[in-house]
Subunit: 149 residues, 8 copies
Amino acid sequence: MKIDQIDKKILELLTLDGRMSYVDIGKELNLSRVSVRERINQLIKYGVIEKFSVMINSEKVGKTVSAFFEVDCEPSFLVEVAEALASNPSVASCYQMTGPSTLHMHVLVSDFAALESFTNNELYALEGITRVESHILLRRFKSRAGLKL
Amino acid sequence: MKIDQIDKKILELLTLDGRMSYVDIGKELNLSRVSVRERINQLIKYGVIEKFSVMINSEKVGKTVSAFFEVDCEPSFLVEVAEALASNPSVASCYQMTGPSTLHMHVLVSDFAALESFTNNELYALEGITRVESHILLRRFKSRAGLKL
Amino acid sequence: MKIDQIDKKILELLTLDGRMSYVDIGKELNLSRVSVRERINQLIKYGVIEKFSVMINSEKVGKTVSAFFEVDCEPSFLVEVAEALASNPSVASCYQMTGPSTLHMHVLVSDFAALESFTNNELYALEGITRVESHILLRRFKSRAGLKL
Amino acid sequence: MKIDQIDKKILELLTLDGRMSYVDIGKELNLSRVSVRERINQLIKYGVIEKFSVMINSEKVGKTVSAFFEVDCEPSFLVEVAEALASNPSVASCYQMTGPSTLHMHVLVSDFAALESFTNNELYALEGITRVESHILLRRFKSRAGLKL
Amino acid sequence: MKIDQIDKKILELLTLDGRMSYVDIGKELNLSRVSVRERINQLIKYGVIEKFSVMINSEKVGKTVSAFFEVDCEPSFLVEVAEALASNPSVASCYQMTGPSTLHMHVLVSDFAALESFTNNELYALEGITRVESHILLRRFKSRAGLKL
Amino acid sequence: MKIDQIDKKILELLTLDGRMSYVDIGKELNLSRVSVRERINQLIKYGVIEKFSVMINSEKVGKTVSAFFEVDCEPSFLVEVAEALASNPSVASCYQMTGPSTLHMHVLVSDFAALESFTNNELYALEGITRVESHILLRRFKSRAGLKL
Amino acid sequence: MKIDQIDKKILELLTLDGRMSYVDIGKELNLSRVSVRERINQLIKYGVIEKFSVMINSEKVGKTVSAFFEVDCEPSFLVEVAEALASNPSVASCYQMTGPSTLHMHVLVSDFAALESFTNNELYALEGITRVESHILLRRFKSRAGLKL
Amino acid sequence: MKIDQIDKKILELLTLDGRMSYVDIGKELNLSRVSVRERINQLIKYGVIEKFSVMINSEKVGKTVSAFFEVDCEPSFLVEVAEALASNPSVASCYQMTGPSTLHMHVLVSDFAALESFTNNELYALEGITRVESHILLRRFKSRAGLKL
């Protein structure tokens, strides 16, 4: 699928407001409601749009501690550990990166007690983990919704 | 604002489908359309919902390289550097963390040439930067939309 | 328990002199001896005051070497190792921190021979320890309350 | 001053309860009240006892975040930076250590916003600082005497 | 074998063009064709010239990702791991170095998927590997053919 | 330019022997001499073959020390430093990489005195260099000629 | 044993020339030959002088490579590994240090082949070694004979 | 100068006892006193023997703290810093090494106060120093006199 300039503008509008109606998008771009719907359906069909979502303020739903983890594990356990972590509800994202660490993970929890419990009871309980490094978010300068990292 | 169990269920439904209609949400939770709309408006008003968005597959829009940067800068330049980076369209997120690095940043670009150009022409051009470390994403195990990291 | 301004002043006075009499505290704050005693009892009852203690000059009691240890251990041994170390009389404090090290520990011993013996015979003897890093205190700029760290 | 076994027992009793009366100490050790008072006065006079203090639960007085900082600075600024930090009320302790870092510092603040403000406005504002690394306390296994670190 | 100035000039000419004919080399250096052939045969016989080769642009044959790996392994597995890696067609070079890493390796693969597959399926599958660090080439400033590194 | 299977086989033969004659290549692949020459000329024209070269044993021409350098420099000096190093005859290759180091460089020199002189007189003499890390090659397990790294 | 100023001067003279005769030392210090001999015998008896030795130029006896090793080992193997290394003739010194490394070792060997052989066949062959870091001496600015390090 | 087996034996004997008489060396090796003297004079003349020295127990002359320093400095200051350190009486040795650190230095001082004073007043006072890392010797396993490191 080739994405043209109009598709890009639709994606920009939806990034700003994921619930914008087909009619309003059409008005902005001088398109009919049907044409907008068709284009969006194509974008969904070909996997360009993975889903519509909502940006929630994590602190306002009680997740006050945002932490990054670097998780080293024995090479033969890497995929198993990554999948176990990916299924943990406290884990927001989990990537394998180049560089010195095997897994890079983002965790959101309610407070320090929860962070300590996650670390000692959920993370350290996984077989094959050799070393863990964690850092706490102090200040957000930018946090872009929309594009999958 | 106190979030109750029904609010939480609304947020869960919207995380799965940010365009779900008030009527459909109401059916799921046994609420009227008006009541759903009022709750969502409250969640927006108190900043629990920051915005509705769309999850785009970055590779399908031509962003094939996803990189993490650790950016050290002279302390007196930190905020200035962070704000310059936050305004750069290639930068998806930019945080100040505890630990050894001053800024943690996520960058999405089209290819290696773009990554090299970003590094040498946009990042290194900022005054006050002393050291940069970058890593490339190899594999995604989890990438959760919705909650602000 | 809510701590008011008078409680805070009592805590400040006791931090400067933990044996200050109720009468003298009362004079400073314009309170009766009974009222001071009641407030201090409340502070103890609710765990604000954990105990009264004495600040001993560690060098003058023969502890001339003050060292910090970073102790890495296999995740499944962490709590066991930490508790063994906490029960060691040479260990002044032992914490689990975020960052790259699993345990941060402060040790006070009489001399280098004791430090070497502690390292090789007491610390390395614990099962599950994988890596130890130690640093020696050179100069104190501030050391607030309690045994000097 | 030579410290004998009786002095050591007095110091142990005072470490457990810094407000223990001379009479009670005397009963424990089979000494007269006057003799206890004289020994304690000698311990104070020769600097063995630096002061009597109180062990306050930092969280219960609103200091919920306990952080360790490694602060590197240009060699010619070290003492100046250390003294500025030592005079900062959020700083509980500040040491020069062997090893890679010039200053090791313990900070107690009310919350993350305070930690970020301390880092950006008070620490980074000091001339001569080149690099800062911070870690957050997750769990205390032992914290001997004084303000909990 | 002693290499004289004429041998050095022959090597320089062959470094610039490995297919230069004996006649053309002879013209440049004022030597007969036979004399050039004899000298080159001597250089081959004594191992100064290891082989004639061709410098291929890796990107133009589909190897778009060039990565460096630092591979740590259990000491007793070092040679075995190194030999397994040396026989892997994606591995361009593999050295044991002084410094903190046991093996330094250069890998050329077609794309990120291939790099992830190489890392997880070929490298991590080797017994005795304890830690891997990888970095991606961003820009070439010099890449000299000819001398064995 | 599309590279087919026959081109690939020609490249493989030339990698093993860069001076192989068109006739001999033709015999191996069942092609005429003219057809081989045309294909090789095309591979040269489109930059697939960058040049023909010779693999010289560096120790036999007196380059007994093979070292890797990681060179950190102030961001604004990066390109200038890299170009100066690339023009230095002791430098075999010089790359900008992801990861913590700005430049990765391979150096071949005659002995330790030459390495020390290169480090102190040629490398450290460049403006903008902040930190240098060097490692010496101990053993080669694989060193592939041909593909540009 | 108390060392006085005259003893210190004798030690200084012997540090400069370990074979200086008692008579010549006596002349320098205005002492009788017998008195010098008695003082030296006392210095030997009380272990101040451990032995007389000779400073050999390591390169001139064919030890051209001088390397420092940081050797990490499993804690329970530390003393065993250290003693095995101490008995190795290539090892000039072996210390346990504070800091991140367990053993710091100085090795003198004839060339790189010997260094590689020492590393792979003698060092890596010891049970309990987990990580080795080596660095090569480039230039001596000072190398003081006499005092035991 | 070629060193033969007899020279090597003389060096071994002198390493064990630097004051051994020519007569006693001659008896051991079946040589005349004159022949021993001539060989030793040759070894001195050609720089194989740099000097005769004495091995002093540093603790017994009041040097109780033995420390290793890694000193990083701005490249243009390296030689100047190294020479200043080499002329400092507390510095026993000072080398430039491969690896991450520019200078490796061994320091012997009387106690911690002297170490702190050396660090802050003598080391940090030198222009061009950017970072210092120090470690304290805990235990000697081997400390060979004789060979220059």
